[in-house]
Each structure stands twice: as C-alpha cells, then as structure tokens.
Symmetry: C3
Subunit: 252 residues, 3 copies
C-alpha cells in the first residue's frame, strides 16, 4: 500500500499503474488525514508537481510519519528548478533524507544546484531530452547527502547510490507521449522498495519493469492512446518477461 | 444529469462511465457554485474520498439542495473508519438521510460503527476483500436509520432496504484493478435511481450493469489497461444483454 | 508548450491530447508559480470549469503574463451562464482580450449575454445539443469586442473573426461521450495558434484535426472506451490525412 501525495494530473494513471504492478494505491491529501494515513501505509510517494499549500502540509506530515515508522519514501522533484515554491520545498525535504529521489536529468541537476544555493537552470516542465549521464554527478552528490538512492530517468535510466551505478536501457519513445509514466514510476519505485527489501534493488526493479513494459507495449500499439493501455497490461502480465526486454549494466 | 462531488482521482472515469451508461455528469465543487448547480441536477453523488475543506462545504450545499428538491442523493463513504475527517463527515451526513449508501463491506460496517459511537475498525483505503455478507446487518441498520437503500459491493453485491435483500453475482477480478470502478458505481446508482423511478430498483440496476459489463469485458481483455476501455464499451453497448451475465437472487 | 489552467476532471486527457497533437502540456496552477511558469510558456489555456479561488488567482497571473509577452491565450467558458462565479470571471477576462474564445453554442451565447448585462440563460454543464449557428451572431459580437477569434463547437464547428467564417463538419457522436474532448480542443487550439502563426488558422487547424480524428476513430471503435484511445492515436498519426475527413466551408 503506497500512500501517494501527487499532482492531480496523474492521480488516476498512478493508481492504475500501482494496481497493475501488484501494489495498492491510496491518495489521501487532506492535511489532517495524510499523517493518519501514512501511519498505515507501507511506503510514501511525494511528487511536488503542482502543489497546493494545504497539500504541502499533508506532504510534511506524511514524510514525518514515514521517517518515524522507518518506511521508504520517494521524492519526485517534478519540474524543480524553474518554479520557486516547489524548488524550495524539495530542497527542504532533502533534510528528511528521502529513501529514493526519482526524476529526469534536469530535475536531478536542478535539485542539486538548488541545494547548493546557486541559481538553478530552469527545467521546462516534466520532460527533458537531457541525457541522464549529464546528471550522474549531481545524482551521486544527492545520494551521498541523503544516504539514499537516486534514480535518473531517460532513454537509459541510471540508478546510483554509494559506489554503485546501474544503467537500464529499454522502453520506447511513446512513453514520453503518455502523461504520468514518469510520475507513476516514482510510485512503483516506492512499492518495490518494500517488495525488494532494499531501496537500490527496488528502484532498479521498478525501472526495469517500466522499460520492459514499454518495449513490449510499443510492439502492439498504434499510437500513444493504445500504448497507454497496452503498457498497463504489460506491467500486469509481464513481471517475469520484462527484465529480458531491457539491457542492464552494472558499474561504479 | 448527476451532480458528482467526488475525489479528484476518479473524476475522469466517473464522468466517462456516466456518459457510457446513458447519463450526464457534472462536477461542480466550488462551494458557491455547488448549491446553484444542484438546483438544476437530477441526482447528486457525495463521495467522501479525499475531501478538501471547501469541498466539504460544497457537499453540504449540494445535499441541502437535493433534500429541498427531493431528488435522490447517494453517499459513498470511501475509506470511512480509518480517517477522522471523512468519518465524522459521513456520520454527519447520515442525518440528511441519503437515498442510497454505497460502499464495500468494511466501509458500510465502519460507517455503522462510527454512527453508534464505538471505535471503528480502520479500513485500508477503498478496496476490501471483506465479504459483503459481513456487512449485511450493518447495512440493514443503516437502511433502517435513513429510510433508504444500502448497497454493499463485493464479489457478490448486496442491496438491502426494509425487509428486502438482493444479491448480484458477476463481474470479474480485474474490476478491482481499475481505479474508480467502485466510485463510478455510486454515480451510476444516482443516475439509475432517477431512471428506475425508485432507489431500490435503481441501485440494483446499476450493480447489475456493472457486474454484467465486467463479465463481458473480461472476455476480451489482456489486463487491466484493456479491461478499462472494454468495460466502458460494454456499459455503453450492453444494456439489454448485461442482466443475463449476472446471477440475481432476491431474499429478505 | 501550452500552460493549461484547466479543471481537474480533464487534466489528464488534455495533457495526453496535447502530446499526441505534437505539443507539450504543463499544468501549473499554484498562484505563485502560475505567473512564473507562463513566462516560459508558448501559449496559455484558461478553462473556467470548476474554479477554486486560488486557481482563479493563478489564471489572472497567467493571463497577465501572456498579455505582457504577447503570446496567444485561449478562454474556454465552460458552463458559463448558469453558474455565478465562473460567469463573472469569464466576463472579467473578456477585458484581457482572449486570442481565441472556444466553447459550445450555449456557452458562447451565454458569455455574450452575460457581458451585455442581461440575465444569461443557464447552460446545463459542458454539453449542449444547441446548433452552433444559433451562436453565430454572439460569436461575431465577441470577436469584434476582443479583436480575436471565436470558435463554436458542435456537429458543425464554426470559426469566426472579423468578416470571416469557416464551418468544419466531421467528427462523430461518440466524441460527446468522452469527457474532455471539448476541453482538450481549447488546449490544442492554443498550441496550433503558435504553430500556424495566426489565431484564425490555428483555431481552424485544431478543429479540423479533432473532427478528422473523430471520424477516423469511430470506424475502429466499439464504444466510447475504445474510441477515446483510437481518437488519441488518430490525432498522433493522422496529421496529414485528417483534413480530408472533414468538410470545410469558407464564408463571411
């Protein structure tokens, strides 16, 4: 059961993707209820896309509960860098040591820069054509800072923590044309941190599942509309077959 | 035209399901507009999932209008029991005598317990593997309290009011893997209360349509992604064929 | 990149439709962030469906930025007429001279009447069986008032500005059974204003794409569930083939 505090654009697909991936979603964002609910959840997702002030309060409560109960929590720094409210909030949350930070290259770089106090280079929304390699050093630094894992999404995803780096290549370009594929990856990362027993393997497993399902779905899709459902079906059916559809490379 | 005050996760699927089922949705949740709008609606749905404070105000206005105009209104006590704000609010709304209460077994039991003033056993979100039979007595009690109908969802749905009980068996396990199938059932129940001319037959017809469409869609689906659309198509096409896909049992 | 301030029911489909149509969505509605973000966007959509008070503030900031930067902004007066808050707000925004106003016949008529100060005849939600021809004179008047373009949706869409009128016939009845096809048309209109280099041709191109994709999708759909995805696929694939699927008539 993943307690998702996420933006309203992607709530439905995030819930459906969690269900397809074998987890259970809960979206409780009332400030008073969020803390109560996080006390029963197995993991927490904090996605800072489009945050209302009361939702920021709910996020703080949920993170505090996650920390108290020592359950994994994932920070998705959506579009951090260009926008003041969420950038300050994401930097504030770094002190709460997210188990996993999951974003694209510009988000990871911007979060690192914002923490260092320099002026962030603004990302333009959630998508970035930036190469994840360009964020590897920022990812290493954030992982060192939090003691957690950083996952950088792109054509090749990079998982980094301590001295370990895993690169996962797969997926399909259509994934970038379906809203919420990245945001729901944060939610499934939270779920798989629990299932895998440790954050690094959980983050890697989530990225492998998404990439493999993307490759599988692309074969039977006529465009982004049909891809969306084929991809959810693939996540549901393919747990064993999906790793073989990705290239996975371990390094340092 | 069903005025839906529902949670943001399921607004889109609720609207699409109402349209497929031959009704029209309207989601007006601004506190000032909700009362105005309920004055033109044919039925009202109140889904307490994830309620913002201003939306609670909008819900109160819409219920007051529904009562004044004597149109059906449905209460969906999503995740009542474990969460304080919505539990107190749902109990408060019982005084406004909902035409139909629609929930799963734990929600119906928890709502009854909360009304009695005991400590509710927390439900974990909207899904419950609980057997609807376990909530039959709570359903009877709530129906007696409100003078309305209580519908308990599960593998076999139970509709109860006064001395009458109807059990509807059908559907498919994939329904639980698509977010909003339960929440949109509340909306279609509201619509069919109007179409059927009385709440009991309306609630039963809505549950029969959902179960029948679920059984039909499961035959042509590869997973929850494709199921979602096939199920909406079945609701749209199947109105005559759907009852034959369920087992319907009348009792007391 | 279209900055969409739109209602929560249609945020996901609006984003997916923009992506399929070759544009990029961003939904930033925090009052403080909305102005910041509009400073980087190429166009802005203001959809007044179900407006929260803080979102109204965000909309004002985004429109002010759009005006300052001289980028196109589209006003979608969803359900204006029957509901006080949004009607007053839409009339207020007319002073900011929307580049395009996009609505159905009753919305365009009601917006015109509300601006004139008479009592508007209430529209019942977003759909209207009203003939767009019934709103042609209101559309001409609003176009004259704002110096912009007015697009009236229906079985035959009408684009009007100055002495020019274009009628576009196509689509399919299933479009009215998928929530958000109208709302996402406003977003794509904003995007195509940029792509086409002028608002009139942009609005016409958006309506042609939607109608053509609707006609194409209807051929391969079993109901509104499958139609939704087939229609998004058609928008993605069909840019060259879509105009041939519509009747387009120029007039004055």
């Amino acid at each position: 059961m993943v307690h998702c505090l996420t933006n309203s654009v992607v709530q439905e697909i995030t819930a459906n993707v969690l269900l397809a991936a074998g987890a259970a979603p809960a979206m409780v964002s009332h400030p008073e209820e969020a803390g109560e609910f996080a006390a029963a959840a197995d993991a927490v997702l904090i996605n800072v896309g489009n945050p209302d002030p009361p939702v920021l309060e709910a996020m703080r409560s949920a993170v505090a509960q996650a920390r108290r109960r020592n359950i994994p929590w994932v920070l998705d720094p959506v579009a951090v860098g260009g926008l003041g409210v969420r950038t300050r909030f994401a930097v504030e949350l770094l002190d709460q040591k997210p188990t996993v930070i999951r974003g694209n290259a510009s988000e990871v770089r911007n979060l690192h820069v914002a923490h260092e106090g320099s002026d962030a280079q603004g990302g333009r929304g959630v998508d970035s054509t930036d190469d994840p390699e360009s964020a590897l050093e920022a990812g290493r630094a954030l992982a060192a800072l939090t003691g957690g894992v950083v996952a950088i999404s792109g054509p090749t995803d990079i998982i980094v923590s301590g001295g370990r780096v895993t690169r996962i290549t797969g997926g399909d370009e259509l994934m970038a044309l379906v809203i919420g594929t990245g945001c729901s990856l944060g939610a499934v990362t939270a779920a798989y941190c629990v299932a895998a027993g440790n954050p690094y393997d959980g983050a890697a497993a989530a990225h492998v599942a998404f990439s493999g399902a993307g490759a599988l779905a692309a074969k039977v899709s006529a465009g982004p509309g049909s891809f969306r459902n084929a991809w959810i079906d693939a996540l549901y059916n393919g747990s064993n077959a999906l790793p073989a559809l990705c290239e996975i490379e371990e390094g340092e």
